[in-house]
């Protein structure tokens, strides 16, 4: 996961190789060795003469963010994408098939027959991450049409003339990535495609260098810890929007069958997905942590289009019920931790576990920079709730993976012995204290030890502000698309830049597996000693 780094920080990194391979603008990391001075001299010359991308990029690059449900596209330098295009059944109709306009879009009305929840969601996705179940040809067709329509309707430029930047999740199955790229390259004349990882871009769009990016996506929620623009750890859970939608569908199916007395089986949904998504996107919410069931706070009812007949009737539903799917799917309340599989941890657990897996320094930095992106982050109250849950988890367990009764007993005993040390370890202000909870018997000196090195460092760079560390804090991000737009505007090149000819020769197999392989630096055409024919997939390899 460490591979994908955006080169903003290239100039400051001390390692020479890393800065070489990142900085397209070739700012030497340490400009004081004569060798590098020569080199950058030739670089500036080369940049003036090289006919390749530097002139081409005068045109604004086009940025695509492709997920399982939506395609966002727009120009670099804009804060929001120009359009968001779906991959639903409406978008896969035959040319000349206008039924969507005549009878209303598919999925808005009630389904004639309840169908299984999995199948219900499938027709709306572009791909699923299990590429065994994916018809790649269909994916190619869908991508081709979506991109073409996007260019013709929204971007209004000639397709393929400018550079293309793709924002993708950092874990992509290779068959999908390959068909995506070969569709783009063979259909249009893109000179190069740059891949950017969505998690890093989300952090960039929040103005951060390190962050814990929680992406509440369609198929899965990923928590990615980013430290100095490097992805250092990723954990994921299937508790994401698809399950939320299915749960909302079941809820609405239940509501429909109450009135109609047509009980379907448990896992079947009889309302259309578009209708269901409409409801979920409008009224899904999340209770706060200290919400009392007894208080009649949100007991009022709400009139929504009736699930039995959405076109004509309305139906009163208590507002509280719209919090049920969120509660059940994303927070898994009521399910003890040990009953959940590794792939279906609740969101608070996911965040906690990801933080726990980090080295203490990175953890302290990341926990103060939690960024929520993805469709689910729009659910009001959810983000605060997750943070509250995580914070209570930290209070309860500290930073320790050890649970169990024996530990509790030991802890009680120790607490009797030494109250003060226990308190110190459970305070979240001590992010480095993950050792304490595991072995709490090492007594801490009451006034924290004065770290001379630390103090000296502080004194030295007094003007650089002390970064916030060790408190749970949420930072809002503009989203991966905006991050990529920022990065591209600043003329920062991604590490993965796939050129047309090279891809068409060998496909993905042409990428070097060598993680440390220097990216061919096209601006330094004269100098480049390394073999320029190779390129890397970095994090996607």
């Amino acid at each position: 996961m460490a591979g994908d780094t955006s080169p903003i920080n290239a100039s400051k990194r001390t390692s020479a190789t890393s800065s070489l391979r990142h900085s397209q603008t070739t700012r030497p990391a340490s400009p004081h060795t004569p060798q590098q001075q020569i080199r950058s001299g030739s670089t500036s010359f080369a940049s003036n003469t090289s006919p390749s991308s530097s002139f081409r990029s005068e045109d604004d690059a086009i940025i695509f963010e492709i997920g399982a449900r939506w395609l966002r596209a727009g120009f670099e330098g804009n804060s929001t994408p120009a359009c968001v295009v779906g991959f639903g059944p409406e978008d896969s109709r035959r040319a000349g098939d206008y039924r969507g306009w005549i009878q209303g879009s598919a999925g808005a009305a009630r389904l004639p027959q309840p169908i299984a929840a999995e199948e219900w969601a499938q027709s709306h996705e572009l791909w699923r991450l299990d590429s065994r179940e994916v018809d790649l040809g269909l994916v190619e067709d869908k991508i081709e049409r979506a991109v073409r329509e996007t260019y013709n309707q929204f971007l209004l430029t000639d397709a393929g003339t400018t550079r293309l930047v793709l924002v993708l999740p950092s874990l992509m199955p290779h068959p999908l990535l390959s068909s995506l790229l070969s569709t783009l390259f063979s259909r249009w004349r893109f000179s190069s495609v740059t891949l950017l990882s969505s998690a890093t871009m989300s952090a960039t769009a929040a103005g951060l260098r390190s962050a814990l990016v929680v992406d509440l996506g369609w198929a899965e929620t990923t928590a990615t810890a980013i430290y100095e623009y490097r992805e250092i750890s990723t954990k994921k859970t299937t508790r994401a929007m698809k399950h939320l939608m299915q749960e909302t569908g079941r809820l609405l199916t239940g509501l429909a069958s109450n009135t109609e007395d047509n009980a379907g089986t448990a896992d079947e949904i009889s309302v259309g997905l578009a209708y269901c998504e409409e409801i979920a996107s409008r009224f899904s919410w999340c209770k706060s942590k200290n919400y009392e069931e007894s208080s009649n706070k949100f007991n009022q009812t709400l009139a929504i289009p009736s699930p039995a007949n959405p076109e004509q009737e309305y139906m009163d539903v208590p507002f509280l019920r719209f919090a049920e799917p969120t509660e059940k799917v994303l927070l898994a309340s009521g399910i003890p931790e040990h009953e959940m599989d590794d792939e279906e941890r609740s969101l608070p657990l996911l965040v906690y576990n990801t933080l726990l897996s980090l080295p203490p320094d990175a953890r302290g930095t990341c926990m103060a920079r939690i960024v929520f992106v993805g469709g689910g982050s729009r659910i009001p109250g959810l983000r605060q709730r997750v943070l509250d849950e995580v914070s209570s988890m930290i209070d309860r367990h500290g930073w320790s993976p050890i649970r169990g009764k024996a530990l509790e007993r030991q802890r009680e005993r120790l607490e009797q012995l030494k109250l003060s040390s226990q308190r110190a370890s459970s305070q979240p202000e001590v992010p480095k204290g993950n050792g304490e909870a595991a072995s709490p018997d090492t007594p801490l000196p009451d006034p924290p030890e004065i770290d001379f090195v630390e103090q000296k460092l502080r004194r030295q760079n007094r003007d650089t502000p002390v970064p916030v560390q060790g408190v749970l804090r949420e930072i809002e991000s503009l989203g991966p698309w905006a991050g990529a737009s920022l990065t591209t505007t600043l003329k920062i090149r991604g590490m993965v830049e796939i050129e047309r000819e090279k891809f068409l020769q060998h496909g993905l197999a042409g990428a070097t597996r060598d993680i440390d392989h220097p990216v061919p630096d096209r601006r330094s055409g004269l100098r480049s000693g390394g073999d320029r024919s190779s390129w890397t997939l970095a994090g996607w390899a």
């Binding site: 700012r27 400009p31 073409r148 569709t183 929040a206 390190s210 919410w285 009022q300 949420e474």
Partner: protein, 628 residues
């Protein structure tokens, strides 16, 4: 059912050539059994075709036999109504929107039909820069109207609003009034960007202080002073919490400025001022220029002038304040959103739908957050063949004109297929009175006859061969027989030619006599009817039974009524719709030089070239009903 029955679709042959995956190619090159990948083999239609690896070789062999399945999800992407297809005269191939490239000729607003110059398109955000707006609630066009309509007729006074004639939404609902009835777009822009300028100023100021802070010529004292200032500032980086959150645009701009400044600061090495992508206008430019003279000189190092700068490259930091684009999520900031959602005055209508939100700012949640949308521009595009770059379509530039300079539509080259059911009682003397089968409810297992007419638009006679699978693919097995699969269609000669030649034209006399004589029973091997440039053949169709219906004879499950069966079938990608894949192969003798067909060069057969074209066509006959 994609259109009213009966309908025809044509599958573009480009669907047969899969997207070349270079990796796959490489793999197959390594594998011992080598296949010629150039040969267009019908693409495997279902997922089973996607298993890569060793099986690829054998699969290609099988694919040649495979019939086109109109039900496969992929075929929806390759089927087009015949009138939407183009034809490339160089490649002699049908071209669909997937196998052409497009070039934009002009941009225009569909609402006011003004052409937008290409330089303005991007700056206007691909939307109309005039007064054309769409209603954010119902997408109807908005009209500029004044609030006081009743005042004097001549001089209408402002303030002005945009109002929707359909849903009666006005900009007053979101509290926006305009001073002038012109240039609404820029007025609106000013209003919605009311907050950002302040933020801009602040961020610029901040970056300027940073700049002076890092300035190598600034005295040490001032640096200290600044540092102290910053230290004082530091405890209150959140600025005033009461300030409204920045809009997306403002935050983006702030972040951009911040990163710009950071990159400029941290890259103050003296060497890269030329290669840097930032011009001299950037805030760090002067800085870098100055450091040319200070830090790179060895003397400077001796006298300790820039010792600090040399010892440690400056570190790029993260955004710290709101003016730099940092936005710390407010505590309990969403409680009021929840309360508002739950409040009775909001309700279903108060929250913006997915569709309404699609083109709005990502923060928009309620209907009050929606802004009027400037009309999206449209383009006129020239189309070229993807493989040979031959121009297929070239429209006139002016938006008002609907004419085309070049337009090579496929129907001038391939026969236009039309379908109609044959009346039941063929003996009736009044064909118009004869009952035709109801195509929306075809009775399973009862044979019907369908007339397929192919009309030739070329100036050469065409020989056609039709082929259908005996049984349609899918779960509903319908038997199809083309009664006369091989026939010829006459040339689309001048009507006057035919009339002048009189009875000597064999085709016309044939058609008259044959038409009269054959209007009886459809016979195998005989063309049903024939005209100057068209030929009609008969397809015999025996609709299959829907799985699980009573017609299937199963009746094992008495609970599922036929209505259910139909509903299930309709939901499963229109399983009850009878669509027949027909493979059309046509060949004709064309003139070698294309442009002189009209001159009647039928005498010299030497310069004729035989051309052929083959494609799949889908005939939508009707919907099968469940019961017999």
């Amino acid at each position: 059912m994609s259109r009213p029955f009966p309908y025809t679709f044509i599958s573009c042959p480009c669907a047969d050539t899969p997207v070349p995956d270079p990796a796959r190619k490489r793999r197959s090159r390594e594998s011992p059994q080598k296949q010629s990948p150039q040969k267009p083999a019908p693409r495997p239609s279902t997922s089973e075709g996607e298993k890569k690896g060793l099986a690829a070789g054998q699969q290609e062999d099988e694919d040649d036999e495979q019939t086109f399945d109109p039900r496969s999800p992929r075929s929806d992407f390759s089927l087009y109504p015949p009138e939407q297809l183009l034809y490339c005269e160089e490649c002699h191939q049908i071209k669909c929107s997937r196998c052409i490239t497009e070039e934009i000729v002009s941009w225009y607003c569909p609402s006011c039909l003004f052409e937008t110059p290409s330089s303005m398109v991007r700056s206007d955000g691909n939307r109309c820069g005039r007064n054309c707006f769409n209603c954010p609630v119902c997408t109807a066009p908005l009209a500029v109207s004044t609030i006081e309509n009743a005042t004097g007729n001549g001089t209408q006074q402002g303030p002005w609003v945009l109002s929707c004639g359909y849903c009666l939404w006005t900009t007053l609902d979101i509290g926006i009034k305009f001073d002038k009835p012109t240039n609404i777009r820029s007025q609106l822009q000013k209003m919605t960007d009311a907050t950002p300028p302040a933020a801009f100023d602040r961020s610029r100021q901040a970056s300027r202080t940073l700049e002076s802070l890092k300035h190598p010529l600034s005295s040490a004292a001032s640096v200290e002073e600044h540092a102290r200032d910053r230290d004082v500032d530091q405890p209150t980086p959140k600025e005033d919490p009461a300030a409204p959150p920045m809009s997306t645009d403002a935050r983006f701009a702030a972040l951009k400025n911040f990163y710009r400044a950071q990159i400029a600061e941290t890259s103050n090495s003296p060497n890269d001022h030329l290669s840097s992508d930032f011009g001299f206008s950037s805030p760090g430019a002067l800085n870098r220029l100055m450091s040319l003279y200070t830090s790179s000189s060895r003397l400077g190092g001796l006298y300790g002038g820039s010792k600090k700068a040399k010892s440690k490259p400056p570190v790029m930091r993260e955004a710290l304040t709101a003016s730099e684009g940092l936005c710390i999520a407010p505590k309990n900031g969403e409680a009021d959103i929840i309360a508002r959602l739950a409040s009775p005055e909001c309700g279903w209508e108060g929250v913006a739908s997915l569709e309404q939100r699609a083109a709005q700012s990502p923060d928009a949640r309620f209907v009050e957050d929606l802004l009027p949308l400037p009309v999206l521009l449209r383009t006129k595009r020239a189309k070229r063949c993807k493989s040979c770059k031959h121009i297929l379509v070239k429209p006139e530039t002016k938006p008002q004109s609907t004419r085309f300079r070049i337009r090579l539509i496929a129907l001038s080259y391939i026969p236009l297929p039309t379908l109609c059911p044959l009346a039941f009682s063929s003996s009736s003397s009044l064909p118009t009175m004869a009952p035709t089968p109801d195509l929306d409810s075809l009775v399973p297992l009862r044979p019907i006859h369908v007339l397929l007419t192919l009309k030739n638009h070329m100036f050469d006679p065409v020989r056609i061969t039709l082929a259908t699978p005996p049984v349609t693919p899918g779960r509903v097995a319908t038997k199809v027989t083309v009664l006369s699969p091989q026939f010829e269609i006459g040339a689309n000669s001048d009507v006057w030619d035919e009339a002048l030649q009189g009875a000597s034209a064999p085709l016309s006399s044939d058609s008259k006599s044959a038409g009269l004589g054959q209007r009886g029973v459809p016979e195998a091997g005989k063309v049903w009817d024939k005209g100057r440039n068209w030929t009609t053949v008969v397809l015999e169709v025996v609709p299959g039974t829907l799985p699980g219906s009573s017609a299937e004879g199963g009746d094992g499950n008495p609970e599922t009524t036929d209505e259910d069966v139909v509903a299930v079938a309709a939901s499963k990608k229109d399983e009850d719709v009878l669509e027949i894949p027909v493979f059309v192969h046509m060949d004709w003798d064309a003139d070698a030089q294309l442009d002189q067909q009209n001159l009647g060069k039928s005498s010299r057969a030497d310069d004729k070239v035989t051309r052929e074209l083959a494609y799949w066509m889908v005939l939508g006959v009707g919907r099968i009903q469940a019961s017999l």
